[in-house]
């Protein structure tokens, strides 16, 4: 029997709610097209993504409440754009704290200031801080309001058997155990993924020695919402300290531990108090009054599975990869996994995809993880040098940075961003991608465009392929329309957006006409002449673009984007 904790977690700010456990009755449905193991942000996000395409899922959460502690607190603009698609960006924006500046200090001097670029055409700030419990709560509420999602709390998967066309899960509950058959299983069960262990799969990559305490305290500090990094502070020589503001006067303090200290020693209340007081004293806070909300110990790891699809089990988020927190790459990478996987799995289940579509999830996201690991390795080696050589170089840079400009960019660990699938198998091969002189290239996400006050292009994007046609005619090309209609008859969702140029107001056969006021769209998309078009996948990544689109070119582009990989059907 599985007995989750039914006492609400303690928190200074978050009202934990214990959800009723699901226990099986003789009449339960024990089949699901998709079983999602894990009811954290990744599992719930994926369930919501699948539901957008009409796919039913069963989400199994081992616990009966949302996560303990604030955990992932920084969400990137790309994550916010993904949240928008599943309907939770509004509440996250309302509660969250937007920010764009990071400051690095050494010997009391600010030696580097990161400024994340902002663009008037982006709806969301570069970063938004919000405690993970709130995000999970909003995702739970969205899932509960979605009839295609069944959320089963207190259900722990203890075994799996994979067959040719599905898998059978053994599920324990606070009541009876039961079996659940699923055509597909998504492992969204986190860093210590039980499914990964059950299947005997091993992560590849490096673990770093440096350990950090993560502590959330409540204190009123008159500081802006900016990231603070302190290198080699007097109270923690040789080590690094990070601070972030969270909503509700909660501050995240991360500090690196001396090499020989155990997590138990580090989390002892006396140790926490002494060090947090020392950090606050360094900020000029005398006799600080604060309360501890949550603390944990973290060590940087940069690991990934080599394949994210194992027969009928698909891995996403921390179950698939463990990434260092520096650069906010954990949850933000997981959301991009969900956004890549959702539509592919949905179209595969509906029988609309070529053989290569679902496989491209693993190809694209494993590659993304490996690139992130490469980048994250650089920041981790700077934050917590793993060897004598790296420590010497890091210390030399700290010292030089007081007077020499040229080393200061080394403080800037690149933060998580939207991945660019430049060499995806889904990108068109014979389009005009290389002939464009501007705009998002194949693999990059679409660029948002501000249409009016609080109205953006991305607000209009449906769960569908997006065909964006730049035109100065009153109707779209007949052959293009015929191709779109033929695909729609097969069940493929395609949204046609016309960008009306040269004074045209309405374009026939488009689902939506947007006027190219002041050449806004054409400039951002590098379009010089009417007739050009972009094709974007349902996750908003461009997969083909043409200077002149016709029906045949669209047919080829869609075939490639559906994973038919060069074969000429349908």
């Amino acid at each position: 029997m599985h007995q989750p904790q039914i006492v609400p977690h303690q928190s200074l700010y978050f009202p934990y709610q214990v959800y009723p456990a699901f226990v099986p009755s003789p009449s339960i449905v024990n089949r699901s097209p998709v079983a999602i193991v894990g009811a954290g942000p990744i599992g719930l996000m994926l369930a919501l993504e699948l539901a957008r395409y009409g796919i039913r899922s069963t989400v199994l959460g081992a616990q009966q409440q949302v996560c303990e502690g604030s955990r992932a607190i920084v969400f990137t603009r790309r994550s916010m754009e993904i949240f928008q698609q599943v309907g939770v960006s509004g509440v996250v924006s309302e509660q969250g704290l937007p920010w764009r500046f990071g400051n690095s200090y050494y010997r009391g001097q600010r030696v580097f200031r990161m400024e994340a670029p902002v663009d008037e055409h982006d709806r969301f700030a570069p970063m938004t801080n919000l405690q993970q419990q709130y995000l999970e709560q909003h995702l739970v509420e969205a899932a509960q309001a979605q009839p295609l999602i069944e959320l089963r709390w207190g259900n722990k998967v203890i075994d799996i058997e994979q067959g040719v066309d599905g898998a059978v899960l053994q599920v324990e509950t606070p009541g009876d155990a039961y079996t659940l058959q699923a055509d597909w299983v998504v492992a969204a069960d986190g860093a210590r993924s039980g499914l990964r262990s059950l299947l005997g799969l091993k992560l590849e990559g490096a673990s770093y020695e440096g350990r950090f305490v993560i502590a959330d305290i409540r204190i009123k500090l008159d500081l802006p919402t900016e990231r603070l990094a302190f290198f080699d502070p007097a109270w923690n020589p040789g080590n690094t300290v990070l601070m972030h503001r969270e909503p509700g006067d909660i501050w995240r303090i991360d500090y690196q531990l001396p090499v020989d200290e155990t997590p138990e020693q580090a989390l002892h209340p006396d140790s926490l108090r002494e060090r947090i007081d020392a950090q606050l004293a360094m900020l000029g806070v005398e006799n600080p009054v604060w309360e501890l909300d949550w603390s944990s110990v973290y060590s940087a790891r940069a690991l990934t599975l080599a394949e994210y699809i194992n027969h009928r089990v698909i891995f996403a988020g921390d179950a698939a990869h463990l990434l260092p927190i520096f650069g906010v790459r954990g949850a933000n990478t997981g959301f991009q996994d969900c956004h890549d996987l959702g539509w592919k799995l949905a179209l595969h289940i509906k029988g609309l995809a070529g053989a290569g579509l679902l496989a491209s999830y693993s190809d694209e996201r494993v590659k993304a993880a490996r690139e992130i690991i490469e980048e994250a390795g650089k920041s981790t080696r700077f934050m917590a040098p793993p060897s004598r050589g790296y420590r010497l170089l890091r210390d030399a840079v700290l010292s030089l940075s007081l007077t020499r400009e040229f080393v200061r960019p080394l403080y800037h660990w690149r933060t998580s961003r939207a991945h660019d699938y430049a060499d995806s198998q889904l990108n068109a091969v014979n389009d005009d991608n290389q002939l464009f002189t501007g705009g998002p290239r194949n693999g990059a996400p679409l660029l948002n465009v501000r249409l009016a006050e609080q109205h953006y292009l991305f607000d209009e994007l449906a769960p569908a392929y997006h065909l964006i046609c730049f035109t100065d005619a009153a109707a779209l090309d007949v052959e293009v329309v015929a191709q779109v209609q033929a695909r729609r008859r097969q069940g493929l969702p395609i949204q046609v957006i016309a960008i009306a140029m040269n004074g045209v107001l309405q374009v026939q056969h488009a689902d939506l006409t947007l006027t190219d006021c002041d050449n806004l769209f054409s400039t951002r998309y590098g379009v010089q002449h009417a007739g050009a078009a972009y094709l974007a996948r349902p996750d908003q990544h461009v997969c083909a673009r043409w200077l002149h689109l016709d029906g045949e070119r669209l047919r080829h582009g869609l075939n490639q984007a559906l994973g038919h990989n060069g074969s000429d059907r349908p």
Partner: protein
Amino acid sequence: MSQSMNVTDLERAYDRLAEAIDRTGNDSELFLVKLALLAAEALNDAERFDALIRCAGQDL
């Protein structure tokens, strides 16, 4: 490759470096790494710097 340093200049670099290492005492290793980074910046030639690292690593 640029012309070789003349012996007078080389002797000067020899003495200055020795004196600086003595002066920086326990921090001489950090000093040398800082110097190497400054030299890399002044050299502004990543491949040549790689070659110098290989050269310095020989016959230790």
